[in-house]
């Protein structure tokens, strides 16, 4: 019984991948599997559908998922608990400051001030939340495919 409960409370850390589900997110979880012949671990991917009615996780985010006591549908077995690492919004764990590649954002701003800020530059405080270009100019929220047919009333935004 204890084992059963432990498995129910089992949480997984995975990466959100594009999917067409409305109220769920597809989560890719990497596991290291031992190859006994080579005595080496190789990464293998498992995919879970996690219940996410508010769509809190977006493609590329690292999220924590928890197994549900019972399945919501045939596919949806987990629920999204929280977004641990959002994509493209890195925080330094030691200082708690925001980081872009190798520099703190504050440092970048300071350098801008020293050299003379330009008017058209990007400003973090005025930037809208991630997702405002979704389906307009940024098509990473769905899997793209190679165009195979010309549909009359469909311009196929996800076709490459």
């Amino acid at each position: 019984m204890a084992l059963l409960q432990a498995s129910k409370a089992f949480m997984l850390l995975g990466r959100c991948v594009p999917s067409v589900k409305q109220n769920a997110s597809k989560i890719q979880v990497k596991r290291l599997v031992l190859d006994e012949n080579l005595h080496m671990y190789f990464g293998e991917f498992e995919y879970y559908y996690a219940h996410d009615p508010g769509k809190i996780c977006k493609t590329g985010d690292v999220v924590l998922i928890q197994q549900l006591p019972e399945k919501v549908t045939r596919l949806i077995t987990h629920q999204v608990l929280e977004v641990v690492y959002p994509l493209g919004d890195v925080t330094d764990p030691i200082t708690g400051k925001k980081v872009v590649v190798g520099k703190y954002r504050d440092e970048i701003e300071e350098a801008n001030k020293l050299f003379g800020e330009s008017a058209g530059r990007f400003m973090y405080d005025k930037a809208p939340k991630r997702g405002w270009q979704e389906d307009k100019k940024d098509f990473t929220n769905r899997e793209t495919y190679i165009k195979y047919h010309v549909f009359e009333n469909d311009d196929q935004p996800y076709a490459v």
Partner: protein
């Protein structure tokens, strides 16, 4: 001649089994009883459902249109939504913009020194600088990812214009393709590093970013027809499900009315016979309430539809 047939026999016990049926004439004496029986079965229209895998040709009227090939250097493939803006030809090239002598020079000299009389590359340099200026961080910024991408975008749009004029210029084509790929790589990096800046840059430079599909495959007639058939089947399934739902919903009102009536009748009968009634008043009221709500919601949807049609 032997054929592999999948036979579907509804009344019999055979469902989807493979038979090796020898093609015989019905009056052939060599054919056994079972074979004759099967042959007779297959002649009847309701049993004549034969599924054949080999050389199967669908009789669905699906017409496949092969998508036209778009070269990778075209703006619709490279993701450029805007063209390069036109340059004001009355201004001086970059080198002479701060010249003191030109300010006091003769009118004709000034005209000769305008972009009108300079090669194309001088105008392009100005456009490039303008594009970088629109996104750069500070006055001396040339190495940040956004200014790099802006620089590449200006060059790409310039090359695309050139390719329209000189489509056989191979050197230009190669440079253009490499630039497009490099810009895509930088956009990919920027997306991972700083998502907000990535989205802002797409908006600012009028670019579209589509990730590469997970795996490459050639477009073939067979594969495309398979996909189209699957799509068609899904549509048919959905249509039938919708129709079935509509038919069930059409029966709902009558059913509830009938239910209320019957419950009332059961209650009356039981009371007349002096038995404890198994149906309470609340049950009947519940059904009537359901009926009322259903009718109200139906009227509301009808009204909404009328409104929409008027609009």
């Amino acid at each position: 001649m032997a054929y592999n047939y999948f036979l579907l026999v509804r009344n019999g016990q055979i469902l989807f089994r493979t038979f090796s049926v020898f093609r015989m004439y019905s009056n052939s004496s060599k054919c056994g009883v079972t074979c004759k029986g099967l042959h007779r079965l297959s002649l009847q229209p309701q049993f004549h459902q034969i599924f054949r895998n080999y050389a199967f040709k669908s009789d669905l009227k699906i017409k496949w249109v092969r998508p036209p090939k778009i070269p990778c250097i075209k703006p619709e493939k490279s993701g450029d939504l805007a063209l390069l803006p036109a340059v004001d030809k009355n201004q001086y090239p970059l080198e002479f913009q701060k010249s003191e002598e030109l300010k006091t020079a003769d009118k004709l000299v000034r005209r000769v020194f305008s972009l009108e009389f300079f090669p194309r590359q001088h105008s392009m340099k100005i456009l490039r600088i303008e594009m970088i200026n629109s996104v750069k961080r500070h006055a001396l910024d040339g190495g940040s990812s956004e200014s790099k991408i802006a620089q590449m975008t200006a060059d790409i749009r310039n090359f695309q214009q050139l390719m329209e004029e000189f489509p056989r210029d191979k050197r230009c084509k190669v440079q253009l393709k490499e630039l497009i790929d490099r810009r895509k790589k930088w956009l990919k990096f920027l997306r991972k590093w700083d998502y907000k800046r990535f989205e802002w840059l797409l908006e600012k430079l009028d670019l579209v970013y589509k990730p590469a599909p997970s795996e490459f495959h050639w477009i073939t007639r067979k594969d495309s027809l398979r996909k189209l058939t699957d799509k068609h089947c899904a549509e048919v399934r959905q249509q039938r499900l919708d129709a079935y739902r509509a038919s069930l919903e059409g029966q709902q009102v009558d059913f509830l009315r009938e239910k209320a009536k019957k419950l009332q009748w059961i209650r009356n009968e039981e009371q007349e016979c002096g038995v404890e009634p198994t149906v309470s008043e609340a049950d009947i009221e519940n059904v009537l309430k359901q009926l009322k709500e259903l009718q109200l919601s139906r009227e509301q949807t009808l009204k909404d539809e009328v409104k929409l049609s008027v609009l």
